[in-house]
């Protein structure tokens, strides 16, 4: 029962976050905002993996997520191909 509730909450989080990713228009620093929102989806996925007792998978995901997000953010920040003013 508790597992079902957690699954529903996590799934709703994923749906709302995905909706915002879909709907939000481009503007200043939106790359970082999108990465924040994807963070919600990542945490929800980790929780779902734990509920389904995939502990090793959840742990792996947990460790890899921040490095991937950081790499993307860092690359965007230092992007020399970006036109000025964007």
């Amino acid at each position: 029962m508790l597992e079902d509730i957690v699954l529903i909450i996590a799934s709703l989080g994923i749906i709302f976050a995905s909706f915002r990713l879909w709907v939000e228009k481009d503007r200043k620093r939106m790359v970082y905002a999108r990465l924040h929102i994807v963070g919600v989806i990542d945490i929800a996925c980790i929780v779902i993996m734990l509920v389904f007792k995939q502990y090793l998978l959840a742990l792996t995901y947990f460790i890899l997520v921040p490095f991937a997000a950081h790499a993307i953010a860092n690359a965007d920040y230092h992007d020399e191909l970006k036109t000025k003013g964007v």
Partner: protein
């Protein structure tokens, strides 16, 4: 490694994680998103501690580490809305305790 620091860090980090998750889901619904880049200085000396801090910031929805300058002990952090340092890194004292 200091066990008290580790336990404290885990508890505070998980609490921050849950709160941040709910906050970003709310923002996904109402669309109040105002991304901002903030420069934060840290008291943590060891490189491992700084990396753990940066990773924790990135794992928490709503905050994201862009850059880490180890010598100057500063981090560039992207935040989904304007925030103070204490709001971004509530777990810093515990990380400091862990790595002395």
């Amino acid at each position: 490694m200091n066990l008290f620091g580790l336990f404290g860090y885990i508890i505070v980090f998980l609490k921050a994680l849950g709160e941040a998750w709910v906050d970003v889901v709310k923002r996904s619904i109402d669309g109040k998103i105002d991304p901002e880049i903030i420069e934060i200085s840290t008291d943590i000396e060891s490189f491992k501690g700084q990396v753990l801090l940066a990773s924790s910031i990135t794992l928490t929805p709503g905050t994201l580490t862009i850059d880490l300058d180890s010598e100057k002990k500063t981090l560039k952090v992207a935040s989904i809305s304007p925030r103070t340092k204490d709001e971004i890194i509530p777990f810093e004292p515990y990380i400091k305790k862990m790595f002395n």
